[in-house]
């Protein structure tokens, strides 16, 4: 019986088979031993395959150079794989680092983006507030407000402030501006100023020139402002001279307009007209 202990084999005296296999393939068996072995071989196919294997082993192992080459190939392969393994570990570590840092970076950038958007919103809100404030100033809803507007336009001469945007809907150009409607026809301390044209609530055709005529003893600091139906000034003229003003045809677009005359910053007339 053959036993393997710690990688070593121990054979009892009764077990002659391994020895006989080896000696048979080395032509060292003879006489009674050879006869006995051949008899065993004829009976046992497993033994036959063992003998064949041993023969092949002898043949293959005898080519020692091939065995040496195999050793070298295996050694090189193991070394290269160790190197590749090291590289693989580095790659895995780098991947893990990226995987960990990605959510952190995403969180940081997302927060930064939120802050940026918040700042933008604040800016927009501030600018809207400013616009509303200035709209309140430019679109006065009472007498004092109009006075304020007059003060503001004192510094310029005959300048157009704004025009209607082309895309403005026509229907909306004719809707009355409630705050101004109350001022139309109201009595002001006009002194010796008398408006001749346009007549109250006149209608002009777009192709007609727009003519203002008046009589006034005091020619100093006479101002005219024309506003659209949203309260936006579309024409302003300071220090008007003479007794008339003619705006060329097409200068004022279609829509409902309000106008006011001021002498020394005091409202003397507030009226309206329609351009069709």
């Amino acid at each position: 019986m053959i036993r393997e202990v710690n990688g070593y084999l121990f054979m009892t005296e009764q077990d002659k088979i391994p020895e006989w296999i080896d000696r048979f393939n080395n032509n060292e068996l003879s006489g009674e031993e050879l006869a006995q072995f051949i008899e065993l071989l004829n009976k046992d196919p497993e033994l036959r395959s063992e003998v064949t294997l041993d023969k092949e082993l002898n043949e293959i192992l005898s080519a020692n150079d091939l065995l040496e080459l195999r050793k070298k190939i295996i050694r090189i392969r193991e070394r290269e794989q160790r190197k590749g393994g090291g590289r693989r570990i580095l790659l895995i570590a780098a991947s893990i680092l990226i995987l960990i840092s990605l959510p952190i970076l995403f969180f940081i950038f997302k927060n930064r983006d939120v802050d940026h958007q918040q700042a933008k919103l604040n800016d927009t809100a501030r600018s809207l507030r400013n616009q509303m404030d200035s709209a309140k100033k430019v679109n006065p809803v009472n007498k004092e407000g109009l006075q304020l507007l007059s003060d503001k336009v004192l510094h310029g001469e005959n300048k157009t402030i704004s025009t209607h945007p082309a895309e403005t809907l026509l229907a909306s150009n004719y809707s009355p501006f409630p705050a101004y409607e109350n001022l139309v026809g109201a009595h002001f301390r006009s002194g010796d100023f008398r408006l001749i044209l346009p007549a109250s609530k006149s209608r002009f055709h777009l192709s007609d020139p727009l003519v203002f005529k008046w009589e006034s003893g005091n020619q100093h600091q006479l101002k005219l402002t024309i506003m659209d139906n949203k309260g936006n000034p579309v024409y302003e003229a300071d220090h008007l001279a003479g007794n008339s003003l003619k705006l060329p045809k097409g200068y004022i677009k279609k829509g409902l307009f309000y106008f006011k005359f001021l002498i020394e910053n005091e409202m003397v007339v507030f009226g309206k007209f329609i351009v069709e």
């Binding site: 053959i2 084999l9 296999i21 063992e50 082993l57 002898n58 293959i60 195999r70 090189i76």
Partner: protein, 198 residues
């Protein structure tokens, strides 16, 4: 460092480690692509590379290699040829009943070349031999080299020649058992038997 094909063959013939390393680094990817693209695994590719290199070494030692192409292409064709034979053998074993009795496809191996089956057996034997205890490897190497018994006993520090012989039988028996217990060897020997007795 780069080698010319001639230098590589010379280096392989002399088993220079640098040349073998160069071949592994530069030629293994080619072998891997053959195997992976043709229903094989990475391990199959490593086995095939070893077999291909042994075949190339043997070819350069026994026959005269006339290169009509570069060495890499030549090595590629050796490996591809071996892999196709290996696949065919394995398919024949898997579908024994249907195709085992059909004649095997013949590949254009030259007479002195190792057959695919022999290369696989050789690899199996070598691997198990190299897995033996070092003392066993030495004893068997001494016997294979036909060193006289007396000298082996002296070299190995054995008490006498009889003990040296016993060691040889034990080690050889261990090697045979390890080979027979390897599942891969069953495929090799079944195929051998079926080819001998169809």
């Amino acid at each position: 460092m780069t080698y010319s094909d001639e230098n590589l063959l010379k280096g392989l013939k002399e088993q220079k480690v640098d040349c073998i390393r160069y071949l592994y680094k530069n030629y293994f990817p080619v072998v891997k692509s053959i195997v992976i693209k043709n229903s094989g695994s990475y391990e199959d590719a490593e086995d095939l590379f070893q077999d291909g290199l042994i075949a190339l070494y043997h070819k350069s030692n026994t026959g005269k290699i006339i290169l009509n192409c570069n060495l890499k292409t030549f090595f590629y064709s050796i490996c591809k040829n071996l892999w196709l034979q290996r696949l065919e053998r394995k398919w024949r074993l898997l579908y024994q009943d249907e195709i085992l009795n059909e004649p095997a496809v013949e590949y254009d191996n030259e007479e002195h070349d190792f057959s695919e089956l022999k290369l696989e057996k050789m690899r199996l034997f070598h691997i198990h031999f190299l897995s033996l205890p070092e003392e066993c490897q030495k004893v068997l190497t001494c016997f294979i080299a036909k060193i006289p018994l007396k000298e082996i006993a002296k070299l190995m520090d054995f008490k006498n020649e009889i003990y040296a012989k016993q060691r040889k039988y034990l080690c050889k028996n261990m090697l045979r058992r390890r080979i027979k217990n390897d599942p891969r060897s069953k495929w090799l020997f079944i195929y051998d038997r079926t080819r001998q007795n169809p």
